[in-house]
Amino acid sequence: MAVIEPTLDDAGVMEFVATGFVLLEGVLDDAFNAKCDKMAGGNIDAFIGEDEFTKTVLLHSKIAGVARSLLGEDFLVPAGGHHHLYEAPHLGQTWHSDGLSGLGYDVTELQCYYYPQAVEIEDGPTMILPGSHCRAVDREAIAHYGDIRGQMSLTVPAGTVAMTRYGIWHKAGPKTNDRRRGMIKFSYHRQAAPQRDWKIDAPQIPEYQNQPRLAYVTEVESYRDRVRRMRTWNWLCGLDEESQLRWERSRPVSEIA
């Protein structure tokens, strides 16, 4: 049985809660990247299900370590996936989230994007919108958005893996060249009940430390974001529902001497 050690600490988990992604740049080696780069586009369940992909990518200590941190013990390892491959120039995809956005404050699926080759801005990199992972949307109803303040183009070195909370807004960006640009997509899932069993220094659960306001966010949205993040943090820590919904830094008057 593979023993996977969590790699994120409280600060890392809190950052994920706010942004909805972890970026691991250049974690996979050139030889394996070259092999993946030759894959045809489309469904690659068989390739992902092979031992080599499982051991090299899915159980890689840094990649699986993030999955272990955010999805708990005995998380489900992908047995399939898809190779999104682009070569000709194109306008780019429209903003969307995949399938069902994932309403609520839980973290039950990490959708991962693996880039076997370096991606430059002209290659039509995947674009993500940090912090968008908790907005449940009709994917067809956000297709008309264009540029968004704070959007992020994943221009990354070869061997990079982005791990996102399923539901994050994303798209293939506009591509202006003919260079091959591939991305292998696969997902890890949670089995265990949530608890604070990532890398911790002390047993006391710290209060959620709010993260900087995102560029596209309005005044009231920054307020909503803070509450949403706090609820996700509390959920991940395994706090009960009453604790999850309790207003931060507040305490019953009876507890005050």
Binding site: Y145, G146, D147, I148, T218
Partner: protein, 119 residues
């Protein structure tokens, strides 16, 4: 009749009599009778106020070939009001009643103004 075309005809009759009508005059007429085409600009304001900063934007320009352009973090205007000052006409204002939210959850991003410019 379009008043600009009417003016062109009056001027051109005089030029015709004087023998000074040129190909440039005909080019000008061609421009005058072209059907104006609509540019559409979506601006997502951070509030329903036209002076608010923008969260997102998208220009649809059917007068040019649809080719990929690199993403940008620079909005074309500081606000909806700035766009109006540059000649854009608002064809749809955000209706606050349509921006539904439930507790701390919502599914939109910015308040949608749709603008047009005829060229």
């Amino acid at each position: 009749m379009n008043s600009a075309v009417g003016e062109w005809l009056a001027t051109s009759r005089q030029k015709l009599q004087a023998g000074t009508l040129t190909a440039q005059d005909l080019d000008r007429l061609a421009k005058l009778v072209e059907t104006p085409r609509q540019l559409v600009l979506y601006l997502y304001s951070k509030s329903t106020n036209m002076r608010s900063a923008l969260a997102s934007w998208m220009l649809y320009d059917a007068t040019k070939p649809q080719e990929p352009t690199l993403p940008s973090q620079e909005a074309p205007y500081e606000s909806v009001l700035d766009a109006v000052a540059d000649g854009w006409r608002i064809v749809q204002f955000p209706d606050a009643k349509l921006y539904r939210y439930d507790d701390v959850d919502n599914d939109y991003l910015g308040f949608e103004f749709i603008l047009e410019k005829m060229i």
